[in-house]
């Protein structure tokens, strides 16, 4: 291969005077983690609400949940980010639109909220499936004990449903972190974005992308290990995921 490898490039100062190329990548990594976690919190909260709506006996609640999920699942994430970033400020009243456009760190908030909404539809589907997989007796027993619907979900159904869907939730969390890379299209310079600008400044394409790849792999390993630990410490002895 006629490519000049130069692994010491990471310790050379990057243009911009803010440290080495390695510092640049680390800043990207940090932004990826921040965006991912922020988006994941939104996805988890909204996804749980919608997921529960889809399992309630009410027809209206079911349809609201269904429409929400279909809306966010049937458009590419990139298009959704464009809608929030370019289209929404124009559709709002003038002063609100201006406020949105002039907000500091607009790409960060747009990415976090946009990716959060996109992932919330997926979380909702997983949670609804988790609740549906519980034996019918659970809900009936809760009702027989005199629990309200809210109490039945809060104390009986959700604690177990969340434990059941822990493995798919782990991969949805990883998807959330991976999806933050899409936000480079609205100007968020996260890990992939920093690798890309390092490539543009230094012409060391493969070193830059290799470093970014290694960082993504590390994130994956840490999240998978952490979630497995969480799963084990939350397991109910003798029940489904318990030993």
């Amino acid at each position: 291969m006629s490519y000049n490898w130069n692994w010491s490039i990471f310790f050379e100062p990057a243009p911009g005077g803010t440290g080495t190329y390695f510092d640049m990548l680390l800043r990207g990594l940090w932004l990826t983690i921040q965006t991912g976690v922020f988006a994941w919190i939104i996805a988890l909260v909204l996804g749980s609400i919608i997921g529960v709506l889809r399992t309630l006996p009410s027809k209206t609640a079911y349809w609201v949940g269904f429409a929400y999920v279909e809306f966010f699942r049937n458009m590419p994430l990139l298009v959704q980010l464009f809608l929030w970033f370019f289209v929404l400020p124009e559709l709002l009243p003038r002063s609100w639109g201006l406020w949105l456009k002039q907000m500091p760190h607009a790409p960060f908030y747009t990415a976090a909220v946009g990716i959060g909404l996109f992932m919330s539809a997926r979380v909702a589907v997983q949670l609804a499936a988790g609740i549906a997989s519980l034996p019918r007796g659970q809900k009936q027993a809760a009702t027989a004990l005199g629990l309200t619907t809210f109490q039945a979900y809060r104390y009986v159904l959700l604690p177990i449903a969340f434990r059941i869907i822990m493995p798919p939730l782990t991969s949805e969390f990883l998807n959330t972190i991976k999806n933050t890379a899409v936000a480079i299209t609205i100007g968020l310079i996260e890990l992939t974005g920093q690798a890309r600008s390092m490539q543009e400044f230094s012409f060391q394409v493969f070193e830059a992308f290799t470093a970014a790849t290694v960082m993504y792999l590390l994130i994956n390993i840490i999240v998978v290990t952490g979630m497995r630990y969480l799963e084990r410490s939350l397991a109910i002895p003798g029940y489904i995921t318990g030993k």
Binding site: R73, P76, V79, V87, K178, T180, A195, F209, Y216
Partner: protein, 230 residues
């Protein structure tokens, strides 16, 4: 709210959007799906082959691809494919690869990891008696797979494979990062040329939404039909 909108910009650019943009997107989706399913099936067969080393390699490949963001993989292949082409053809300098070829290679390699997991589940869903019976009839491994296991696995997994293809259809919009002329790329070019971001992005969203919705509805119908037959 829509008072100063110019919806005529959509009508004027329909030809470019669909004849160029959508054709690019659909061709890329179809070829990537076919390539990804073939390559993914090979990976699944490697994982289930019983040869430990082959299984390890295939497993590592799948885990590796699945832990990277697609955008990063698109960049990787965009820069890597010319060098690989040089190495394969023995040329003296990295060969020029068209945007479409680069995107196609990326999506086949990336989606194969996801398709292989589906095919693996499909192959594992076939009862042990089937390959055993094929073996007893004197079929070779290749024949068993070709005539007994894979057709059934493929059929069982068809709805899931198609759903993944819808995801792939949406994912092809990411070639935007290399400014390729897919549907979204075309919409975005018109949007920036005419200063009509709102109209074009709304229209693109509606088109993606309609196609994905119709496709997933069709998959659901198909799934219902298949599950009655079994």
């Amino acid at each position: 709210m829509f008072a100063n909108f110019d919806f005529d910009v959509i009508r004027r650019s329909l030809g470019y959007l669909f004849l160029d943009g959508m054709t690019f997107t659909l061709t890329l989706t179809a070829l990537s799906a076919v390539g990804g399913i073939i390559f993914g099936t090979l990976i699944a067969l490697m994982r289930l082959s019983g040869f430990r080393l082959l299984g390890r390699i295939a497993g590592l490949y799948v885990d590796f691809m699945r832990s990277l963001p697609l955008v990063l993989v698109i960049f990787w292949f965009y820069f890597l494919v010319p060098y690989v082409g040089q190495w394969v053809t023995g040329a003296s300098r990295p060969i020029a690869v068209g945007a479409f070829t680069s995107a196609l290679v990326t999506f086949i390699m990336f989606e194969a990891a996801y398709f292989s997991e589906i095919m693996r589940a499909g192959i594992q869903s076939i009862s042990k008696g089937q390959p055993a019976a094929a073996n007893a009839l004197g079929l070779t491994y290749a024949q068993t797979m070709r005539y007994v296991v894979l057709p059934q696995a493929f059929r069982n997994m068809l709805p899931v494979l198609l759903t993944q293809t819808i995801v792939l259809f949406q994912d092809t919009s990411l070639v935007y990062v290399l400014s390729m002329p897919d549907f979204l790329g075309a919409a975005s070019k018109v949007a920036q040329r005419d200063g009509r971001l709102v109209e074009m992005y709304l229209f693109a969203a509606v088109v993606y939404f309609t196609i994905s919705c119709a496709a997933s509805f069709a998959v659901r119908r198909l799934q219902a039909r298949i599950s009655i037959v079994r």
